[in-house]
Symmetry: D2
Subunit: 380 residues, 4 copies
């Protein structure tokens, strides 16, 4: 719960602005003995770049950085050593153009006002610290967390549920990682491309919904009472720029269900029998005190009960607002409170979703890694 | 970001279970010199009790504690001294009945499973630490925070937007605190009563939506990048039992707006002129660098831009699931994974909303107090 | 590193003043499944009281509280549940006398000035939060930590090395717990009694040295680089009132040794052979990577190497200043900076040592418990 | 109180090993608007290097890095922006020699054993993370803190009190920064040179004592009860490699004084009158509630009363052990617990003092900066 540090044991501290020398971070508390290479991190950074596998070309435009990561410490002979893992990515594609117009006006929907009022000054070049580039460090940190999760057979995945009001189906969410827009079905990305293209021509922007899942997370993770698993996930997700809503499982829909509809009955592990009997069966990771497996007849809870993982998949839905920078002129004020029309120049994306998906995935991985370590301290 | 401690400077640490001697907490970091009495806390605790002003009688049933708070430290001659403020509330209405049936079965929708798997044992009497009674400590801590906010003319208020799918209007949200169900209009509470009564007869339960507002919060609060104002608010709200979703401002609706619709234009402070011109005008708390006031043409952002307060009212909507304990029999398993039907005995509420509203208000107050103190460290 | 919270995983948060209703604290992060009773805590509190086994009667005088502890949460059927363990001790022996004289003058050697300048007001009755009574909460928290250490065969013990310049020998430090003044030999306590008596008649006070040992601590505990084992121990010890110096192993004497004298050679585990060869041998707790035991030819390092436990006994020496409250008149100033003679009225001890020894022991136990839990997160 | 993060508001997180690409860190929480350049940091790094002004040539030998620092974020147009300040220093002078012998044997007096047992593996090249090079990051972070202190007219200074048992006088401690060995008098450094030279020929090493002072610190800093000013200073100092003891003011000597000798009487501000009357007078920074200044007749407390600054100079004495790497052969064991003679090859210093002094100064500056910010939250 520190400004630029995330986590309690597995801790990521980040730095960097849009137009400074670069961005990076330090992962402190990563367990020793984990195989880790620059390539492990690079893969995730590449997924965040325009033109990469999961990217919607039509959504982005704009800045294109190679984003080569260097590990500066904490790895020896291919294994983490328990000491801090620092990493750095150079900024190479800053356009040096004249940002001085931004120094006096506050862009609607942006952090400009907040930074100015909070600190009394701000680095207005490209959004400074509030630039989307800040998320490079999150993705890199999340890649290290994901490597740790992998050793425990835990996977985080994410896909795009909806863009500009057009919903995809979850027909093949496992394949989303390799599709444009991280689309969970084979058909909808084309519609999103078309919408993005139209929106671009209108000088406007769009938002959407993202689904994040943690698979294989054992039951019992999360810390009552303030630091619940869902509380920390909400914190992690809402802390990503452009996110305006977070729900777990049925989320807002649960507010309209009856208890008898919303509760997920627990079932014995023999899922086949359950399914044979015509019930759905969601298998849980982990075992009951007596050693038996178990599952649920549904997963309305989204894998979280009483703030702790239930063993069912953790399911999070995140609302992403339309990008604040648009081509149309908008009303605003300057530092003196005078009216000032503002039109975003330079490059800007039409939709944040393709860049945000890997970031949300990274944040979920960081949460899971931290709670897994904390859990080691739970019993005498 | 600790299990039972909330906040970084203004810090609340809590303890207590449903059937132990009592509940309480320690507020560390409350500024010295604040006028504080037991009565300040008691008022908020009373608002949380059945039969109190804001309570929906039909929603609750059940346990009725006097909940008298005692301040044990940190106040001298009516003022806080800067040292920890400890408070305690006795449990007086535990029903001593036989809880041993709960020891072996996991109630669907509850934390039972999580506690058992996490810790290897659990206090199953009345939910133990995961009982709704845990929130007594949150409300008490929040009352201290609210007292601090009051000195800065900052107010937190909350109301019920919807119960079991029946929505209220925001006609008079200022009056919600004194109405049944904390209803923001004079008419809808009666419908909620009727729905609750029907639901009770069905042996079922209902959920709903709550709106929390922070009024008068100056711009610039919240800490980039991880500890954003909205991130911490989401953390605070989602950490309350039964909460499954959190949104800021337009929230999920923003995901379907265009940027040109969602952005809130900044306006000069002369609100009358703006309104005269037929524009809406949301006045902001605080001033621009040159000393001028300002406002917005709308508040889709819910008072948060780039993770920092914008000066507009902070608006949070929270989804509360239906209460997990219902009168109907439900399928579950026991400790050995054997099927076990479960029917909740004893008292249980039909809807958590009337108890949750003061808790969410308290959590928002704790967030605001902490960020106000952190802000004092922002400038050289 | 928070004001009134100690530890990172095993965390103690305390409250209470000399003349408030009582003192207590919350232990958060204690592993579940630990056997714990009020009696476990009471024993340690009793050791801190005048007239108890280890007390030097001549050193104290004064306030005599029964100090009955109540556990308020976190224990169920004799076992810790993983939830916060709150405890409380009533203040029963506050003398209600007139403290108003203390409101205007700053007692030399006390925290009065600091509290006044820091907070703008202070609870001047009996020292308020800076009273020695604050340590009741430390001792109680430490008792819980010690119970956890006990399950791992780790022991913390402490004895008095020196009082008013008169040194004891370490002939029987194992027996110190049951001797007056926690004296490590059978003879010196009588001299300390005599010195204390003389000092009392002079209206003066004395200090001394305390030795704290942690036995059985496995190698590798402590966190590079800032949170080293010795760093945290120094923090813990120096945070106890009246402590003015801390050293580990040879401490200040090491500054005058050569490297060849100060280094502790590592030896194979076969201690008998080593001793047969005329070498000293300090056996270490723990094993080398290949599974072999080991030891050291000496323990100048005091069981800490590079900030981590070496497996040898951890040895800390602490300097305790003479009690600031003395019977003689002293020069001081009042709130307006005017000269004001001050003579301590009421009861006050002659030497803090007999009360401080259990407190230092408690702080060492809290450190060890926390690092043992952190260590569980060190490896993948 | 995290492994590689120091501080609560003004927070330094560091990384880097002896033989990795480089070392660096992130300062989070530095107030915005502070003038800061790479040169500000470089000056302090230069003071840490052999051959620089304060260095004792005879003490060192060995590795000579240019240690050019780069600021990577958080500074815009010469001012800090409130966002994290990252800095990096390349390692350029690693000798690539064969370190494989060190992989199997544990060097006496070093962290080798701890790292191996803690993490199951270690980077044995040049000490890895436990190398003295780690302190580069501390000195850089401390330089940023010192810049902040400078704006408040607070100064940290340090000098060498004693080397190998040969004491200097404090005749001119203000001039120590520019003398060899940071010697506080003009004469003693030559003796230390001679002793170092003799010691080198003997294949041995020496330690010593360092005095650190914080001048101008206002009264009331430090947080009761666990996070006292002296507690945190002890933590900060003891966390530096080779430090084995810390005392405040009279420290261990206070344990042998009477209360009447050790207490520092408070005096009215009119220091001249006091001195005219033949009293010593130590002026305090800050004012009493009524606005008057004040001082003390002595400063045995070393500027700390009840864990808070008293306004008098803060005086810390630190014991530094002799360097563990010596030219003589020493007994040790290998990974299998077999006896293994060890002789340090390569370069190693004779005495750590000249390198440690700037590090201790940096740690004191970090402490002071953090407490100054925390103090802003103390009052309503």
């Amino acid at each position: 719960m520190d400004s630029n540090t995330f986590g309690r044991i597995f801790r990521l501290t980040t730095y960097g602005e849009s137009h400074g020398p670069g961005l990076g971070g330090i992962v402190d508390g990563c367990p020793a003995g984990l195989a880790l290479s620059e390539e492990d991190i690079q893969q995730e950074l590449d997924a965040r770049r325009p033109g990469a596998g999961g990217r919607g070309e039509a959504a982005g435009t704009a800045r294109n950085e190679p984003d080569r990561v260097r590990i500066l410490s904490g790895v020896f002979e291919g294994l983490t050593t328990g000491t801090p893992i620092a990493f750095h990515v150079d900024n190479t594609d800053q356009r040096s153009g004249d940002y001085s117009a931004l120094a006096r006006v506050f862009r609607p929907g942006h952090a400009d006002l907040g930074f100015q009022v909070k600190y009394g000054l701000r680095d207005y070049r490209g959004g400074g610290r509030s630039s989307g580039r800040e998320t490079v460090s999150r993705v890199a940190g999340g890649a290290i967390a994901a490597k740790f999760l992998h050793t425990l057979s835990i996977t985080v995945r994410a896909c795009t549920l909806e863009v500009g009001g057009i919903a995809a189906s979850l027909d093949d969410s496992a394949g989303a990682a390799s599709r444009p827009w991280f689309c969970p079905d084979p058909h909808t990305a084309a519609k999103w491309d078309a919408l993005a293209e139209t929106t671009r021509k209108q000088g406007d922007s769009i938002g959407g919904l993202v689904r994040v899942e943690i698979l294989g997370l054992p039951a019992g993770l999360g810390e009552p009472v303030f630091d619940k698993l869902d509380a920390r996930l909400a914190y992690a997700m809402m802390g990503v720029g452009a996110v305006k809503g977070v729900e777990i499982g049925q989320g807002f829909a649960a507010a309209r269900l009856k208890g008898s509809e919303n509760n997920d009955p627990l079932l014995p592990a023999c899922g086949d029998n359950n399914r044979a009997a015509g019930h759905d069966f969601v298998a849980a990771s982990g075992t009951l005190p007596g050693g038996a497996g178990y599952g649920f007849a549904s997963n309305n809870a989204g894998g979280v009960l009483g703030g702790m993982s239930s063993g069912a998949p953790v399911v999070i839905t995140v609302a992403v607002k339309p990008i604040a920078s648009i081509g149309q002129e908008q009303r605003s004020v300057d530092r003196d409170g005078k009216p000032a029309g503002f039109t975003a120049g330079g490059r800007h994306d039409i939709c944040a979703i393709p860049r945000v998906v890997p970031v949300l995935k990274a944040m979920a991985a960081l949460c899971a890694a931290d709670f897994l370590l904390l859990q080691r301290c739970a019993r005498s």
